[in-house]
Symmetry: C2
Subunit: 504 residues, 2 copies
């Protein structure tokens, strides 16, 4: 019986297509043969096995090593033929010259899935291309499906699986990724933890000699842990399949793609990276638009968009109201929203009337609403946003966040509150404020997006995110991510011909 | 004798113009009368006095309060007339209705400089405009120069001065700022500390009823601590003066401006913020271009540019070589540089030859140079960048940085190194690597720019920055900041008609 991707999800909730995916056993294996790890921490294979052990993989691991009798504390085997069972997956981090033989031996053993990390194939030129062809033929002779070569494999924290060379130390998340660069998986582990996200499953496809981007897309579409799919693209090798699959997926889940080959230098760099032949920007733009994919223009933007698209309800339109207590950040947010095509309607009189009782005379009850300095700090997180979310004139609330911590601490210090209690009181207050906002989101079911220059690791910001209120690191990043949110839902509504999206 | 802005700078090093500036005594006062602070921490004035005390201002502070006999532990005075001396500066955080009277009393006392924080003037409409006119007349009757109203004053950490309501806890830095939003000063204190920068002096000009943006520009141009000037602009009230002064300043120091009024929503928001009448983007573009100012498109970009422009030597041209050990980040950097108009020349044969001995066969000796996984980690920070910096074909080195810490730790752990020693050994190794790069920068006098997805607060990144090697938070941000660096030096060279800047 196939193992589920997570113990919290029962079998019948998994769509049939996920277990039929060539990636299913590769991403959710019960047992793994591991080639290329030793007890030398200078080697990449050893790092990769250490990552797998570090995340606490629950299945059997069989290191295969020509000499060592144990590797990182696990019993090692000289030959794959010696293994006591047929593992679900083989992971190969071996010198190029012995990859083919090892794949043959794995095939003889009956192994049906492999991750081939080793490089030295198509990406190095003609000789490599021939070798890659031989690899495909050998694998297919044994009915084996494989990822790579020249990849880093997969991270599926829901299954405690991480075959890459960097440790995965964050939480399991809702962001799925298929990447033509292993770095944009591994080297994002810590980044995503810092901004409060984690991968549901991330797949490094490398040269895509067998399993490709489209297979990854299909898998993540069916994956119950994945709410948003991100793609790092240097080339689309099979545009017809890609278009067809992506068009179907985006009716179900958002896809955000970052494409790198659009400039001459990007194209050259991609070519030497994965042997990918990139195309002009406008062709990729067309493919993305036609299939309902949102295009990101940088890596961090892709993750910003993923964070917003994966955590807020669908907006009914693109009319934004901005709440701030500082004129500058409010003006910047308005300017940024406008430039991104979002609407900043002027404040209707009925809302102005309600606000005038809440905002001091030095403030402004336009859009942005600028509270300026107010003694009633609670109002900023309750009565004022409630007023704005209640208005039919707005679809989305942008709220500027300045951690009131320093000022609270100073006030408490002056009252002689002991330091330990101060921290406790501050956290209590922050939790109260965050709880208020969370309640409003639940009541009004409209997107509430924070923006702040605070560290994404600040307690206040983390607490908000934990309640599905994304906080972007600047007004610009917020505006761009929200524009992507609106583009996605507008496009989806149009294509699905369901409830209309208001852009008036 | 005027006090110098810092004890480390002797008087004769200060250009004559700085002491002649109406801002000089305002930014470097020996004594301050403080209106609006009490012992109630819910009030803004109290927070502002607490900030001043918190930074450890060395001069005399005289709180003026109608009732309290002491304020935050300082002897308080009922009336400004009672003060034992005539202070250099008055800071007013008072209800709008008593501002005019208080200014009159300060004038009677002979005070020549004021910061008027209070709002409720031009930014609230016709009545406020009249009040602002009266304020100007009153001040000038006494020969008093003032900042504001509707501002937050100044932060000059070199003089331990911070009149704003948020504490300044970072180091004194080299970035000067004049801002039409107080928030973009105060609320950047922590942000700038996190990214390893600090203000030299930051000036919130508010409504600019008297002292304006141009005065701020002149002051910072003469300020010996300021290497780069940043501007947050909602409007330029006096374009002729601005053009003339900025054009002279940019021959001496870079100016980076972020302008917010270019969109309709930005314009509306600015109007209600500081009563500023903004103009169309293209007019501001023209003003900036003509005066040699670099335009930033977001707040974080302004600071990214400041960090690069203030810490690296002038490049001789815009030809970039990229060094990476991960194909993806290398390709993204190449693509981003290309889109920003930087050149990524192909690798010349002579350099290829030298590199081929240093780069493994799975890597690439093009541009980007991709080392891939290499056993010789030291080479990444010594022989390889040395090879690239030595080549006449390149003006700037981009280097991708992945903290090797996790892998070192894992290796040491496997060897049974105790945790405490591990931390020590890791720091030692990092310092060694950073020292190597620093040596290369000194040898070749070319800009070396790091890019990384690590936290800007990671030890490795902080150590690099401390040695004037800026590390940008993504390849895109690096490319945009470096494009600004090149634009500035290219423009300056053209206008100064000195050594040419190579863009071939």
């Amino acid at each position: 019986m196939p193992q589920t991707p997570s113990s919290t999800v029962s079998n019948h909730e998994i769509p049939a297509s996920i277990t039929g995916s060539p990636l299913y056993k590769l991403i959710n294996p019960d047992s793994i043969a591991f080639f290329g790890a030793s007890n030398d921490f200078g080697s990449m294979g050893t790092s990769q096995l250490a990552s797998l052990l570090g995340l606490g993989f629950k299945g059997n691991i069989y290191p295969v090593h020509p000499k060592a009798s144990s590797v990182l504390g696990l019993k090692a085997y000289q030959r794959v033929a010696d293994l006591p069972e047929t593992p679900d997956l083989a992971v190969l981090i071996l010198p190029t010259r012995i990859v083919l033989d090892t794949v043959t031996q794995c095939g003889e053993k009956g192994i049906k899935h492999a991750i081939i990390v080793s490089g030295g194939f198509r990406e190095v030129g003609a000789k490599g291309r021939d070798l890659e062809q031989a690899l495909i033929q050998t694998a297919h002779r044994y009915g084996m499906r494989f990822l790579g070569p020249n990849c880093l494999g997969v991270a599926n924290p829901h299954h405690k699986l991480n075959t890459t060379f960097l440790p995965y130390r964050g939480a399991a998340g809702y962001l799925g990724m298929v990447s033509q660069s292993g770095s944009f998986i591994t080297q994002m582990f810590d980044y995503l933890s810092r901004v409060g996200m984690g991968f549901s499953t991330a797949i490094s496809v490398g040269n895509e000699a067998d399993i490709d981007l489209v297979d990854g897309l299909k898998y993540l579409s069916a994956c119950p842990h994945t709410k948003v799919i991100s793609l790092y693209v240097e080339t689309i090798r099979n545009p017809k399949d890609f278009l067809e699959v992506a068009s179907a997926v985006t009716l179900n889940k958002p896809i955000i793609a970052y494409y790198v080959g659009g400039s001459e230098s990007g194209k050259q760099a991609s070519l030497s990276h994965t042997g990918a032949l990139s195309g002009p920007d406008r062709i990729y733009d067309g493919v993305f638009r036609q299939s309902g994919i949102i295009r990101a223009w940088s890596i961090e933007e892709m993750f910003d968009m993923g964070s917003v698209l994966g955590s807020v309800p669908a907006p009914r339109g693109n009319r934004v109201v901005i709440q701030t207590h500082s004129g500058g950040p409010g003006a910047v947010a308005a300017d940024a929203c406008d430039r991104e095509g979002l609407k900043i309607p002027s404040m209707p009189d009925v809302v102005k009337k309600a606000l005038s009782a809440l905002v001091p005379h030095t403030g402004s009850i336009g859009n942005p609403v600028d509270i300026t300095f107010s003694k009633d700090r609670l109002a900023y997180f309750s009565s004022i946003p409630s007023c704005l979310l209640d208005a039919d004139h707005f679809d989305i609330l942008f709220i500027y966040l300045l951690l009131p911590k320093h000022m609270f601490s100073r006030a408490m210090e002056s009252l002689g509150v002991p330091e330990k209690q101060m921290a406790f009181e501050t956290e209590k207050l922050i939790n109260e404020l965050v709880g208020k906002i969370e309640g409003l989101v639940q009541t009004y079911a409209k997107p509430v997006i924070g923006f702040s220059f605070h560290s994404p690791e600040a307690f206040f910001i983390k607490q908000l995110r934990a309640r599905n209120i994304p906080v972007m690191q600047s007004p610009h990043r917020a505006a761009r991510a929200v524009a992507a949110l609106c583009r996605y839902h507008e496009g989806r509504a149009k294509r699905a011909k369901d409830k209309p999206f208001n852009t008036k």
